[in-house]
């Protein structure tokens, strides 16, 4: 009935081999020499310059972890929908890894993860920044609120807090931005935090839509937006034009 020649067989074989590799990619599994840790690609930017890896802590359910990662990447308050990450989304790649080897601790009501275990796990994916998500019960957190933290290139996140806490912490480790709320007893080095300035705000005075509001880490310093994500991620929905510029700057070079 069917007459198949050699060329057709060759084409079928090539397609079959291609299919094998495509299916392998879809599995997104990277075998790790110290165990079976898989690197899953959440989103691969077309011009990716920055690789972000999500790791779980305290999750009883892998599905819930994947949902949280999706929310922090693609959700209303995720990278995909908040400037300047929205406009530069193709410059980022996001990965997640389900590992039970992440060690974290709560000290002085602050959630902070051990950077050794996080770095070892994250090395299974291209990694520039690591975000550990702590699946914390919202009611429990209402009684005893736990702080998220950022240290070196590692953000340790309490998922019971507002979704924008991830972008706030990421702005610390990736953009080098300071907190814009005023905290007593905190001294900040104005030279290293470009989002704070002295009175009259000469750093961003040439930005027409940027303001100059009292209080940026310390009461004596000034910020460019009244209620931005770096001051209050519960009420603020944007970083503000100056902070967006600072966050987009590393992507330009």
């Amino acid at each position: 009935m069917f007459h198949i020649n050699k060329v057709q067989i060759l084409v079928i074989i090539i397609f079959a081999v291609s299919l094998f590799f495509i299916l392998k990619i879809n599995q997104d599994n990277i075998e790790y020499s110290k165990g079976n840790i898989d690197c899953n690609t959440v989103y691969q930017g077309k011009n990716a310059k920055v690789n972000v890896v999500f790791l779980p802590y305290g999750y009883g359910d892998e599905k819930r972890f994947y949902e949280d990662v999706d929310s922090y990447v693609n959700g209303e308050f995720g990278f995909k929908n908040v400037e300047p990450f929205k406009s530069n989304f193709e410059s980022f790649s996001f990965y997640d890894i389900v590992s039970e080897n992440i060690k974290c601790d709560v000290t002085d009501n602050t959630f902070i993860c051990d950077d050794l275990s996080a770095k070892r796990a994250a090395a299974n994916c291209p990694n520039d920044y690591i975000i550990v998500l702590y699946d914390r019960d919202a009611i429990r957190d209402l009684i005893v609120p736990i702080r998220s933290s950022a240290y070196l290139n590692l953000a340790s996140i309490n998922t019971a807090d507002h979704r924008l806490v991830v972008l706030h912490e990421f702005a610390h480790i990736y953009g080098g931005l300071a907190d814009e709320y005023v905290e007593e007893g905190i001294d900040i080095d104005i030279d290293r935090f470009q989002n704070c300035d002295v009175k009259t705000c000469p750093r961003w005075s040439h930005f027409t839509n940027a303001g100059c509001f009292e209080g940026c880490g310390e009461i004596n310093f000034y910020r460019s937006i009244d209620n931005g994500i770096m001051r209050n991620y519960i009420l603020g929905r944007e970083f503000g034009i100056w902070n967006e510029y600072l966050l987009a700057l590393p992507l330009q070079s």
């Binding site: 291609s18 950077d115 291209p126 702080r147 807090d161 991620y233 009420l235």
Partner: protein, 167 residues
Amino acid sequence: MERIFVGFAITILVLSVSAFAITKDCVNKDYLLLELSYESRTVTLDGYTLENGCPSGILKRGDFKVEVLQNNKVVYTSSFDPAIVFTDVGGEDNVVSGGAKVIDKRKFYLNVPAVQEGQIQIYNKGVPILKADFDVKQEVVRSKSVGLLDWVNILIEDVNGLLGKIS
């Protein structure tokens, strides 16, 4: 017509293999895990191990800078700051609090690209504070006439063996 089909099929094959190779990248890479201590604005190297996986990319924020040198040429540079930890929490009254805490003393880790017989230099605000030599004997065989899965298994065994020798 057949030539078009063959050409199309080969293109699909090349693209899928390339994408596969990119996705699998970290399996075939090694990095140096640097064990460091920060105290009083200076950093000391406590040790290092060769590990399998991707090194961290080039980071641009922080007063401190790490350089990896091979044959006196800088092959990697990245910034960091082990002295500050940021903490934040959203409260019931819709106020965020926490702030940056300055650290006096802390052990921390950096993962940098692995090179054989190199040097690590660390600077604080441009001032050199640490210079250390390291010698990593890599014996990982990366090319053998075997199937893909065998090749991956051999690589994993070699890396495991190498890690055993180093530690």
